[in-house]
Symmetry: C2
Subunit: 311 residues, 2 copies
Amino acid sequence: MQALTSHSFKLFSPLLSSTSHRFPYSTRSSPRPSSGRASMERSGPDFPYLPPAHRALILNLLATVDDRLGSDLLPSAVPSDVIRLQNPQGSAHGSVDIRTGSQTSPVDFVLQSWLHCQTPGGGEINIATLFAFLNSSTDAPHFLLELIQGSPTSLVLLLDLLPRKDLVLHPDYLDEFYHQTDLDGPRRDLEKLPQASPYRSSSLFIRSVLSPTAIAITVDCGKEGDVKAMEDIVAREIGSAAEKIIRIWLEKSAEVRGRVVGEGEKEFLESRDGLIKRKAVEIDLAANLPRMFGPEVAQRVVAEIQKAFRV
Amino acid sequence: MQALTSHSFKLFSPLLSSTSHRFPYSTRSSPRPSSGRASMERSGPDFPYLPPAHRALILNLLATVDDRLGSDLLPSAVPSDVIRLQNPQGSAHGSVDIRTGSQTSPVDFVLQSWLHCQTPGGGEINIATLFAFLNSSTDAPHFLLELIQGSPTSLVLLLDLLPRKDLVLHPDYLDEFYHQTDLDGPRRDLEKLPQASPYRSSSLFIRSVLSPTAIAITVDCGKEGDVKAMEDIVAREIGSAAEKIIRIWLEKSAEVRGRVVGEGEKEFLESRDGLIKRKAVEIDLAANLPRMFGPEVAQRVVAEIQKAFRV
């Protein structure tokens, strides 16, 4: 499973299957049900494999998104055999769900997924992703969160607002979305953690896609490490950074309703976004999904994502 | 002098004053004269303040550049009061020299400088820079080296080939100049040093200018540290990385003679390069030079650099 952790940007994220076709976790009063069963009753399969702190973090983020963007998102059209994934051996489980934005919304899609997979050595990998793309009615950045947990005491975190433009050519864009929002603050805070060290994707393209304030770290609580310490970091420091950043993203994507993006720029944004989406599928999904789920399941998921990505 | 180390990309580099108007250090057989006096006799003031290993590293790089690009570069037109700088108190010394490319050359300019400055606490700061820009006849990357030594046992290194294009929009460019050249190898090697940790410029613009394989590190050999260990790292690991990268740059800038850059792209390259140059002057020189040398000297240097930059 080496490739799984060497490439980041997995495009997989914790999913809530929603038979109601609405994010079912907007009940902020209970973001962290104590048992899988309770949440099953409420809303169907609910991150059954994700460690509790990861699960709570993602639930909170999704609730925040739903509070602000709920009416912008169309019901999920993802078929049930993508919403629930499993390999023939039963050693890998997962879910991919996508909701696209309505005609009048600046949201292109929100993709959420989780993947769980047992490794031959007896360990397991959990990958949770939340990926929110805007369409070409705005040039505001996209949101990306990915948590790749390779052991109970170590993980890779990618958390960023992805720029839509060349920041060298557009210093005003850099100033508006990255400097004035103090997006560097959460990065600085997380990198100060003694357990954190920089993470670099082996893909130069993926490094190029990230912003200069991207959080890309490995958190390692030691080999025989402290599971509780890791859970605390996810619940507190990572949770707090993710919440700050998704709120900035929501504010910025809401603001853009008043902005006008010209036709030429729309074309440019679509073409640049298209490259990111195509490369993401090529670098990541096409390489990793077959290994986890076999070619048939992988093909189904890739087709569904390509449909949402329109690539 | 906080700002000196918090902003990188100083645009200052070790200079050899060359009355002959040719790089005088192309005698590869003696790149590291044992005394300042010996080199004075050969070629005028020769990095009098730079630590020996830094001096040797820069001399070697300049000799490599001169071997390959000598005939591309016009004689320096920089006046002697910029080639030799000093503040009224005599606590800061430095030199900035610039050679522009000939009409038929792909080189825009090669800027080399060193700055030395005593700090109120009795310490000193040495900044050595080599900055080689190409013109719009090619889209090959620019070369940047900066060594900022804040104490005998700690320094900041920036070493990179700066992309001329948005790498997300141009994955072929990324592949040609960064992936196929294995520019990530020297970065990996240097970051493995136990004394190295990542360095981030406080300027988001400068972070955006750097490539995904940029070497941006702090090397720290301890507070009461080992001066010899630091010198060894500069001489071996940093020297080797810098030599590899400047050779890649020289190869790529030579290759471009066969390439054709269209008129529209030329304009684009000029405008993007112009932004980098203007921002570099604004963020760095205008902020730091007056502090080191007083307003009059600073103005002289900035004017000379702006002339070469054509901004």
